[in-house]
Symmetry: C2
Subunit: 201 residues, 2 copies
DNA sequence: TGTATAATATACTATTATCGTATAAACTTA
DNA sequence: TAAGTTTATACGATAATAGTATATTATACA
C-alpha cells in the first residue's frame, strides 16, 4: 500500500550519492548511467527501477539538496534573535550553501534540459514563499523597507535568476561564486532600511 | 622547407592549452574534439591540420609537460650543491610536478589507449637516462649505495610504475597523490646510504 | 529446505553522439 | 585583386549510450 517507500532503500541512496558526486565533478552530460551504476555497485535495471532517466536522477538530487537548504534556512529564520542578525545568518547560509553547488552543475543544467527548467520553477516557488515570509516579518519589525511590495519579490527573483548566468553578468564576474555573492549581498543588504543602522549606531 | 614550424603557431598553442585544461579537469575520454575547438576558438578543420586525433593531442600535451619536467630536473641535478641536498631537491620537484598531473589524467590514460602506452615507454627511457646519471653521480659521491646496480634501475621503474595504479596499491592508498608520494619517498629515501646521516649528524 | 521475491548479468535494438572529411564561403595578407 | 588560410556547414561512417527483455543468480522468508 505504501507506494513510494524506496526513499530509505540503500541502493536508491547509493545511486543518489554517487550521482551527486559524479554530476558535481563533471556535470550531467559527461556522466553515463552505466558509469553511475558501476560506481554505485548497482545494476542498470535497478537504476531504472528507481529513476526514469539521468535527468530524473538529477532532479531528485537537486530536490534533496533544496529540501535540506530550505530546512536550514527555516531553522535560522525561526530563531529568537534580532531580525538584522537573522538577515546576516540567512546571507551567510545562502552563500555557503550555494558554494556547495559546483559551478559546472549549475552551468550545465541551465538551459539545456526542459525538465530542469520546470523543476527550477517549482523550486523558485518554495524560495518565494520562504523569502516572502522573511520579508513580511522584516517589515513588521521595521527592518525592511515597507514600500517593498510582496508582489515585487517574485519579479525580483526572476530578474536576479536571469542575471545570474547572463552573458553580461559573466563579463562583470566570471566566477559563478562571485556572481552569486554579489547578487545575494545586493538583495539583502540593498533592501535593509538604513534607519536601522542609525538606531544601532 | 622547414616542415614542422607550427610549434609557435598561436592556434596550435591555444589547442594545446585548452586541451590540457580540459583533459586535466575531466580526463581525455570525457572531452570531445569539438568541445576543445569551441573553447579554443579554433575550427575543427584546423584541429585536424595540427593533430591526427584526440590521442595525438594528448601525447603532445604530455610530451610538452615531460620536456619541461626533465629540463627542471636537469637544472636541479647540475647545481653545484651537496648531493644529499640535490636529492631532496629532486624529490620535492618530483612530488610537486606530479601533483600537477591531475589524478584523472593519469588514471584514464593508463591502459586505455595503445598509443599512450607506447609513448609512456619512450618517456620512461628519458627518465631512466636521467635517474641513471643521478644514481651514478650519487654512487661516485658515496651517498647512494654502491651495491645498487644500474641494470636494477630500469627494473625498479617498471615495478613501481606497475605498483602505482595496482588494485592492491589503491587499497593501501586511495589517493593517487599519496601513492605517488609514498613510492617516490621510498625510492629516494629508501636508497640513501644511512652512513651519510652519521656524517652529517 | 523450498518458494517467492528481488537484483544482476547479458544481450539486444534504437537512438544519439562523435569522428573525420569534403566543400564552399569568409577572412587575411601581401 | 589574388593566393593562401580559416571557418562554417553539411555529411556519412562509426562508436557510444539509452532503455528494455530475458535468463540466471542471490536473498529473504516461512
Amino acid at each position: 500500500m505504501a507506494s513510494e517507500s524506496f526513499q530509505d532503500n540503500k541502493k536508491y541512496q547509493d545511486l543518489l550519492a554517487t550521482g551527486k558526486e559524479l554530476f558535481f565533478k563533471h556535470g550531467i552530460k559527461r556522466i553515463t548511467i552505466e558509469e553511475i551504476c558501476e560506481k554505485a555497485g548497482v545494476s542498470k535495471m535497478t537504476f531504472y527501477k528507481f529513476f526514469r532517466n539521468k535527468e530524473d536522477l538529477g532532479i531528485r538530487i537537486l530536490s534533496q539538496i533544496n529540501d535540506r537548504i530550505l530546512a536550514e534556512q527555516d531553522e535560522i529564520m525561526t530563531q529568537n534573535i534580532p531580525f538584522i542578525d537573522k538577515t546576516r545568518g540567512i546571507i551567510n547560509h545562502l552563500i555557503k550553501t550555494h558554494e556547495e553547488l559546483a559551478d559546472i552543475f549549475l552551468d550545465e543544467m541551465w538551459g539545456s534540459n526542459e525538465d530542469f527548467l520546470i523543476f527550477f520553477n517549482s523550486l523558485k516557488k518554495g524560495s518565494y514563499q520562504m523569502v516572502s515570509n522573511f520579508i513580511a516579518q522584516g517589515q513588521k519589525e521595521g527592518v525592511i523597507r515597507k514600500s517593498l511590495k510582496p508582489e515585487m519579490i517574485l519579479y525580483l527573483f526572476d530578474v536576479f535568476q536571469g542575471m545570474l548566468n547572463s552573458e553580461r553578468m559573466k563579463e562583470i564576474a566570471p566566477d559563478p561564486h562571485e556572481r552569486l555573492d554579489s547578487i545575494l549581498n545586493f538583495i539583502f543588504y540593498g533592501i535593509i532600511d538604513s534607519s536601522v543602522k542609525k538606531v544601532n549606531a
